[in-house]
């Protein structure tokens, strides 16, 4: 079992990332808190030795995405909620940030992980493929299609990613 200091460091280092992945998948704060508990308890009890900070970060991404999917499989959790609830009140004050997040969250689920991992975390398509267990060509297709959908919703040139 990991020490309290290790856990504190991990929470400070990865809590924002786990929170963003939860936002991409989940509907409300209670579910997000469940995921936080699940992910960091797994970390506490895990004896995995990480070769590098990148390896540790990839572990957190995979465990968080899997935990979100497990939670969503429970049909009792499935319900429709407003964007305010998804983003947790208060919503981002800047209307542009809000518009962008609304556009990302309105994408079909299969695009949201790759959008977050590519645009925010800066992973390449091959890296995302390894993280999510998807063929790299599938990831390229998802990114291209997501970019088209976001361009339709937000305007602009679609960026260089």
């Amino acid at each position: 079992m990991r020490s309290e200091q290790e856990v504190d460091t991990a929470i400070e280092r990865y809590a924002d990332m786990v929170r963003r992945l939860c936002m991409v998948h989940l509907k409300n704060e209670a579910d997000t808190e469940d995921i936080f508990q699940t992910v960091f308890l797994k970390y506490v009890l895990s004896s995995a030795a990480f070769e590098s900070p990148e390896h540790e970060k990839a572990w957190f991404i995979r465990v968080t995405i899997n935990a979100c999917r497990d939670l969503l499989r429970s049909i009792f959790r499935r319900r429709t909620v407003s964007l305010d609830e998804v983003l947790e009140t208060p919503a981002p004050a800047d209307p542009d940030h809000r518009e962008v997040l609304e556009a990302v969250l309105s994408l079909p689920g299969k695009y949201r992980d790759v959008v977050y991992l590519h645009y925010y975390e800066g992973y390449t398509a091959p890296q995302i493929g390894r993280l999510l267990g998807k063929n790299v060509n599938t990831v390229y297709t998802l990114l291209t299609r997501a970019k088209q959908l976001l361009r339709e919703r937000l305007g602009g040139d679609g960026g260089n990613g």
């Binding site: 929470i11 924002d16 929170r19 808190e33 009890l45 030795a49 063929n135 960026g159």
Partner: protein, 249 residues
């Protein structure tokens, strides 16, 4: 647009209250458990390197020889070959849909639990299963201990899925299935259906969904009738039905 997305995500942060509640939860769940000495974890990469060297130093056949297989049938029909270290060596499609799905996956050298989970969560299979299709997972191999463990893991993995069944099979039976170009799940269905309809061919069965096969078996069974809704764990008629994890007769 890239920068707008990055900045928007940057605004989303975990609140201090959430972090504190998480710390409190972890403290409560782990009270009384001693922390593992850090040195033990530091040794793990060294041991991993030694293992890699041992494998590269002449024992690679140990790693690359399959000792078990996991057949997944819905209509995509796939087979995962597993080594003695529980890692996926290959994924093979047994029909056009299976080959297409296999090509879209990259789970080689994954732990089989993670691989099966990723496959069941793939867009293709999750959509089919949500639509009420039937999932059959069959475990076979030469090592009974390993096969028992895999079967148990598959039962856990599919627990809660009303339309899933898990079986164990003997390696010889799986070989007979492969001789006909079928996964074992389809082969069992083919044998059951052939007993009721001698004209049925393996080619016909290969591209049918497990649900179509089950419904046809039920329809042809004496007094049988295909169900229209999602199935429970009923038999398929003609002695084909089994409990979760029932061993191959």
């Amino acid at each position: 647009m890239d920068e707008r997305i990055r900045e928007a995500f940057q605004q989303v942060r975990a609140g201090e209250a959430l972090k504190q509640r998480t710390r409190a939860y972890l403290a409560q769940r782990t009270r009384g458990r001693p922390a593992a000495p850090a040195g033990r974890r530091r040794l793990a990469p060294v041991l991993a390197c030694l293992l890699v060297m041992a494998v590269l130093g002449g024992g690679s056949w140990l790693y690359f020889v399959p000792t078990a297989s996991i057949d997944i049938d819905v209509n995509p029909s796939l087979e995962l070959r597993i080594n003695r270290f529980d890692r996926v060596l290959s994924v093979e499609g047994y029909n056009d849909d299976g080959r297409e799905l296999a090509d879209s996956l990259d789970v080689t050298f994954w732990d089989y639990n993670d691989a099966v989970e990723a496959i069941l969560e793939s867009d293709t299979l999750s959509a089919l299963l949500a639509g009420g299709e039937v999932l059959t997972i069959t475990v076979a191999g030469s090592d009974q201990v390993q096969c028992g463990k895999i079967l148990s893991d598959m039962e856990s993995c599919t627990a809660g899925r009303q339309n899933a069944r898990c079986y164990a099979a003997a390696a010889d039976d799986v070989a007979a299935a492969h001789d006909l170009g079928l996964t074992y799940g389809k082969y069992r269905a083919y044998l059951a259906l052939r007993a009721l309809d001698p004209d049925v061919t393996p080619e016909e069965v290969r591209d049918m969904t497990m649900r179509e096969l089950r419904d046809r078996i039920l329809t042809l069974s004496p007094g049988g009738e295909a169900e229209s809704g999602a199935s429970g764990h009923h038999g398929w008629g003609g002695g084909y039905g089994h409990r979760w994890g029932a061993a191959t007769p």
